[in-house]
């Protein structure tokens, strides 16, 4: 399987504070990897560096073997993301919002793409309402639809189901998984819902105080920590001191 994302010794320092400390990991074609960690662990900073919103202090990010710093526009056109802190413009309708992002991602057949996304994500009945008038769950669904406008090969999903009721969250997870299987893309997923993480992840990377403290499959992590529940592992990892070996 080809490597889609390779992160090597990635570090971000803000003056004397180290938000991300020499982390390295890879994501291969077709893989869904969850990035977990307590608040302040460095997840958001890592995602923001992957989106080139924040410049790393040192280290490298490669997508499809190309350096993100040197090929920013080309690589970002193959990526997309969804995050609860980055909503679509509240004063547009869902159709307009998706049209804008289809254009911004250079989608030539943008009218057809918007129509199919509206159908696929059950947004058809909302097309004439302003985004600001939608419920947070509907906005989240729209945000995920936006993340698929360019059929990305690398998808970064930050808490993608945080505002959704369980049936909608399940439906949306299934849709995301199906699309990733079809496109042979890859996903970096963050969530505080451990059941969700266990359901979707091929691998889990735990971050704590800016460092990678564990990187393995959910099954292996359970064996390694002698726990049946990912949430228990999360609590153990969040509380344990940093091991220099990782």
């Amino acid at each position: 399987m080809a490597t889609i994302l390779r992160v090597t010794n990635l570090t971000k320092q803000y003056n004397s504070f180290t938000a991300v400390n020499r982390i390295s990991f890879e994501i291969k074609e077709g893989e869904i990897v969850s990035l977990l960690g307590p608040n302040g662990a460095g997840k958001t900073t890592t995602i923001q560096m992957l989106l080139s919103l924040v410049s790393p202090t040192s280290g490298d990010i490669e997508v499809f073997g190309k350096n993100l710093r040197e090929h920013r526009e080309e690589l970002l056109s193959m990526m997309n993301f969804s995050a609860p802190y980055s909503l679509l413009p509240y004063n547009l309708t869902p159709r307009e919002g998706l049209t804008v992002f289809s254009l911004l991602y250079g989608v030539r057949n943008y009218r057809e793409r918007v129509k199919s996304l509206l159908d696929e994500f059950n947004l058809g009945e909302l097309v004439n309402r302003k985004i600001g008038q939608l419920s947070s769950g509907e906005q989240m669904r729209l945000g995920i639809a936006k993340a698929f406008v360019n059929n990305p090969k690398l998808l970064l999903l930050d808490e993608p189901t945080a505002s959704l009721d369980p049936p909608t969250a399940r439906q949306l997870r299934a849709r995301i998984l199906k699309r990733i299987q079809e496109s042979r893309g890859a996903v970096l997923w963050t969530s505080h819902n451990m059941r969700e993480v266990e359901t979707v992840s091929d691998r889990i990377i735990f971050l704590s105080r800016g460092r990678v403290v564990a990187d393995d499959t959910p099954q292996n992590l359970k064996k390694q920590y002698g726990q049946e529940d990912l949430e228990e592992i999360f609590i153990i990892i969040a509380n344990e001191p940093i091991r220099e070996s990782l």
């Binding site: 803000y14 923001q48 526009e73 980055s86 413009p89 547009l92 911004l104 250079g106």
Partner: protein
């Protein structure tokens, strides 16, 4: 340069302007009210002048007002196009997209051109109907002033974006304030000769000074003041280059310090 990226920025702004009453008021409302104000004031000033005066105050003052409004609108529309993304918490989506900074700026320029043309035709028609002012009598002389005014407005708009990126959404007041900072020193409603000698030298670097001084010469003497056009154009080019360097510097700093994410959290 990807045309779809530029079209995306343009489409996003035009959709908003088209259906937003407050935005349409910002485009046509302020200028209408201000035209009444300056028009009545000018009519009164005209009555104070001796009967044999040859000065056409309506032409002089209202032409200056119209071109100043154009500059103000050009700078404001540029700054507000960017601020709209900050206010609607869309700025992260925009910077995480493959749109280049130059494409974003070109999209804003296109939006600015459409707004400027609409507002200019509207206000010149209104001035003709209310005060019989026919600014089109200036003929081709209008073109260099029109272009230079728009371009300087955009340069200051680029600086506004840089300041918002650096200081966060609270710097949005600058989008409205910057033109007023330039106004007293641009010799819009009075000649440069009224400035103290030091200020006459200092204001030389402002393209607007040369534009408005030149426009007055064109109105009163009926000739194209080539030296004013030359200096306005050269200084404009310098300002545009400096404005872009400033914006690139601010964006680089924002990526290092993490200011971009602060734009949606502040």
């Amino acid at each position: 340069m990807n045309r779809l990226h530029i079209l995306g920025i343009f489409y996003r702004n035009i959709v908003l302007i088209r259906r937003s009453v407050p935005k349409l008021f910002g485009l046509f409302g302020f200028v209408t009210v201000a035209l009444f104000l300056w028009g009545f004031l000018t009519l009164w000033v005209q009555t104070l002048a001796p009967d044999d005066t040859a000065t056409d105050f309506i032409l002089l003052i209202l032409s200056a007002f119209i071109f100043w409004s154009l500059f103000d609108l050009s700078q404001r529309s540029f700054g507000i196009s960017f601020l709209e993304e900050v206010w609607s918490r869309n700025i992260i989506n925009l910077f995480a997209s493959p749109v280049k900074l130059s494409e974003m700026v070109l999209g804003f320029i296109l939006v600015g051109v459409v707004q400027a043309l609409l507002a200019f035709f509207y206000v010149t028609t209104l001035a003709f109907l209310l005060y019989a002012l026919n600014i089109w009598n200036l003929g081709l002389y209008i073109i260099p002033f029109f272009i230079n005014i728009l371009v300087f407005g955009w340069a200051l708009g680029v600086v506004t974006i840089g300041l918002v990126v650096r200081f966060g959404p609270s710097a949005d007041i600058l989008a409205f304030f910057i033109p007023f900072l330039v106004l007293p020193f641009s010799a819009v409603y009075y000649p440069v000769s009224v400035f103290p000698p030091v200020l006459q030298k200092l204001t030389f670097v402002l393209p607007t000074r040369h534009m408005f001084e030149g426009m007055r010469t064109a109105i009163t003497e009926g000739v194209m003041p080539l030296d004013n056009v030359f200096w306005a154009t050269v200084l404009n080019l310098v300002f545009v280059v400096l404005a872009f360097l400033f914006l690139y510097w601010m964006l680089r700093l924002a990526r290092i310090k993490g200011y971009l994410s602060r734009l949606v959290h502040d």
